[in-house]
Structures are given as C-alpha cells and as structure tokens.
C-alpha cells in the first residue's frame, strides 16, 4: 500500500452498499455520454430484439408500454467512481421482451445498441432473471434526454456504461463482441463488486 502523505479522505463509515473504489455522489447524477444527445421523441422510438431468437420483433412506444410494468429500486454505479443510492426507475423487465422473442439455447451474449449507434456488450445471463429493464421513468417522471430518455437499458448490477441510453435494440449472439467503450479499453463485463473497470482488471 502506497500511503499518500497527509491524505485522510472524507469522513467514512463502513457502507456495505458501496463497491470498492466508489464514492457516494449524493444528489448528483453526472452525465458522461460521449455523443451528442439525440432529439428522440417517444413517437420516434423503437426497440428491437433479434439475432439468435425464434421470433425477432420490434416494439414501438405504445407496444412496449403494453407489457407488464416493472420497477427497479436500488443503487447504480459508474465506472468513473461515483455511485448513486436509492434510485427508482420504472419500465419493463427485459424478461418480458425475451419471453416474446424466445432466445435460442445457443445465445450466450448480447450487443445492446442505441439510436445514436452506441453499443455495449453483455453476457445474456446479465440481462435475464429480473436483473435488467427497459426504463422509461426515473423517480416517477419521464427519463430526461441526457439520461437516455425516452428509454434506456438498465442493468444496475454492472457499471452504468452497460445501461445503454436511447436504447434501440438488443441482438443476441453466440459469442462476445466488444461494444463502444469495450473497444476503447473498458472491461468486457464491468462488475463493480470486482472492480472490473478496464480490460485486464
């Protein structure tokens, strides 16, 4: 351990909800997208699931909202080291979409892509079992454009770059295919509890 002379850091108690190397951002919710925030209205929005599935299909805004409502209450963690506690997102569980398209047994990974062209890769197992959502609302209000509105992917148990803003679709594959940040040196999975920030972590 290389102790920094004179550094004490902020007051701290043991917070079991804070992954290693993270700090509590409090009320802040930093925006870190690397592209121009698109002007995307609910009427323009669509979401598609295809690739290794029985029945590829697309949903428009109304069709996606006809699926069962599901909510996430909990924490989110950004690779730039802030975490945000006790947030509430409303949307639809990805399981509801997968139940319709029926993934092949050969599907192991997914690429999530945005209406901007942003991509991120995930193991399929991280998107199923009630752990991932298409989110339309934050704290009961429509999601702001700069936070991915009108709809973003939400995978809160991984670093937040996996939760693609302005979600346009998910393609299921039988192999892992690095997305935007993953091609720029970030970790393939991004589990904050194992501090998987960069490739090689």
């Amino acid at each position: 351990m290389n102790v920094t002379r004179g550094f004490t850091g902020r007051t701290r108690g043991h917070d079991p909800g804070l992954p290693p190397g993270q700090y509590d951002a409090g009320e802040d919710w930093p925006v870190l997208s690397a592209e121009v925030t698109p002007e995307l209205t609910p009427a323009d929005w669509s979401f598609r699931v295809d690739g290794l599935v029985e029945r590829p299909r697309s949903w428009d805004w109304e069709q996606a909202h006809a699926l069962p409502v599901s909510e996430y209450r909990g924490d989110i963690h950004c690779v730039t080291s802030w975490s945000k506690f006790g947030v509430r997102f409303g949307g639809v569980s990805l399981d509801a979409f997968f139940n319709v398209v029926r993934p092949h047994v050969s599907a192991t990974h997914a690429v999530a892509y945005s209406h901007t062209g942003y991509t991120t890769n995930l193991p399929l197992a991280d998107l199923t079992g009630g752990r991932a959502w298409i989110a339309f609302e934050y704290e009961g209000k429509p999601l702001d454009p700069e936070h991915g509105g009108p709809a973003r992917l939400l995978v809160p148990h991984l670093y937040f770059w996996k939760s693609a803003k302005w979600i346009a679709g998910i393609r299921l594959l039988d192999h892992d295919e690095p997305g935007f940040w993953e091609q720029n040196g970030y970790h393939a999975r991004g589990n904050p509890w194992e501090e998987q920030r960069y490739s090689g972590d």
Partner: protein, 251 residues
C-alpha cells in the same frame, strides 16, 4: 461464430482512431515535481512518471490517493501535457468545493509527494494529429484540448486546428498566456474593455464550419454537461455531422 454486429449509425464505428491499450491496468507511482498556479481556482501539477507508456492528446488517466487506514479515493483526470513531454504528466485541477482529492492537491500537496496513476485510458476523445480539429471547451474542459494544442505546436503540424474556449472572465482563463492565433476566448461574466460578455454563440461557430478544411473538422467538446449540450447543439445547428463530434463531459 454467427453474424457480427454493425451499428446502425457511424458513431462508435471501431478503428477510426486506433489507440494502444497497454499499461492501463497497472498502477504506477507519480512523483509531484512542480505546482503552477493557473487561475485563482486552478493549478497545474507536474509529475515525473518514469515508466509512463505515453499517451495521445485528449486521453485521461485514473489517479488514486491512499489514506493510512487503507481508504483510497480515485478520480479520472484529463492529461494536460502533450506526449512529447516524455516521462512526465501534467494535470490541471480545479479546487472543487469539498473535493477530497482536489482538496488534497490544493491544500496539502507539495513537490516530492507521491500519488498513483494508471493509464492512459480511453481512445475516443484522443486526437493523434491526423485530421483537422475544432476544439471547444469551457472552464477546466480546456485541459485535454490544451494537450492537443501543445502537441500541434511541438510537432509543428500544419493540419488545421482551432480552439474556442469559454471562461467566466480573463482571470479564470486557464493557460491564457499560452494561447496563440489558433484560439478565440469567450467570456461569460466579465471581459476586457471592448470584448463582448456572453455565452458561446452560433455566430462564433458558424464561420468556422462555413470554411471547412479539406476532409472537414473533427470536433472535440469538453466541459460541464450543460456546456457540452450547448456547444454540441451549436455545432449540429451549424452543420457539423453528429458522428464527427466527440464529447467529454466532466461529471
């Protein structure tokens, strides 16, 4: 292997700028050698990092401070120095109110102190000097852009490069003495006699896009989220393609 995946737009297409990803996983010791005041709220911290693998202008690093009880705080910071400054790194840090890391730098740090860094990180905001660059920054958002300006000068590049930089006033303009003909400052709160006070406007951006260099500009925008939203809208309105705007937001 089944099919591969091609994004529906050109944003994020791989290989536009290839960046070496070596060394990003290794923490290295950085020894503080010099502190220079830039403005009342920002100072430059110069480090010797003998095994630094080098970086491209625009890249950032992760910096870690460790307390005696093992508590560590880490932050991402853009690199201000150009790659030509081998074995050294400079960071220019705002003194953030209540910031545990910037607070240490501005009130405790002195030459000889050691911190840890890993990087360089991320290739998206990097500019290797290979294409015309239109740089737009505000506040400490000018830091990674200054690495590009310094690189441009150090190499004597003739590829066009322009910098629009916004600050609250002349005394808050980081690197003010270093800017040359490539730079146009904008002051939002107070300005020297005869200089307009106000936000960056379309009138400033549009002429640059009206006279595009061959191949067009690659635009780099850096600053707070609200500034990045404002500047990127000005660029899009002036005709800059969205897939040629790279944004680094400070959060």
């Amino acid at each position: 292997m089944t099919e591969t995946f091609t994004p529906p737009t050109r944003f994020a297409v791989p290989g536009r700028i290839a960046v070496s990803e070596q060394a990003a996983a290794v923490w290295q010791t950085a020894r503080l050698t010099e502190i220079r005041r830039e403005t009342p709220h920002a100072s430059t911290f110069r480090f010797a990092v003998p095994d630094w693998a080098g970086h491209l202008p625009g890249q950032h690093l992760m910096l870690r401070l460790t307390a005696a009880d093992g508590y560590a705080a880490q932050r991402h910071y853009s690199i201000a120095s150009p790659p030509e400054d081998a074995g050294h790194i400079e960071l220019t840090l705002d003194h953030v109110e209540g910031g545990e890391v910037s607070g240490w730098f501005h009130t405790v740090a002195r030459p000889g102190d050691e911190v840890e860094v890993r990087g360089p990180l991320s290739g998206f905001f990097a500019w290797p000097g290979d294409r015309p660059a239109l740089l737009i920054g505000a506040g400490s958002g000018v830091v990674p852009l200054m690495s590009m300006v310094r690189h441009h000068r150090a190499r004597g590049l003739d590829v066009p490069l322009r910098l629009l930089v916004s600050a609250r006033g002349p005394e808050e303009l980081i690197y003010a003495r270093e800017f040359g003909a490539e730079t146009t400052p904008v002051f939002t709160r107070s300005a020297p006699e005869g200089v307009v006070v106000g936000r960056m406007t379309a009138a400033l951006v549009a002429p640059l896009l009206a006279e595009q260099p061959p191949g067009g500009w690659e635009a780099y925008v850096c600053g707070s989220n609200s500034f990045a939203e404002h500047a990127s809208r000005l660029l899009v309105a002036a005709g800059q393609p969205v897939d040629r705007i790279r944004i680094e937001r400070f959060g």
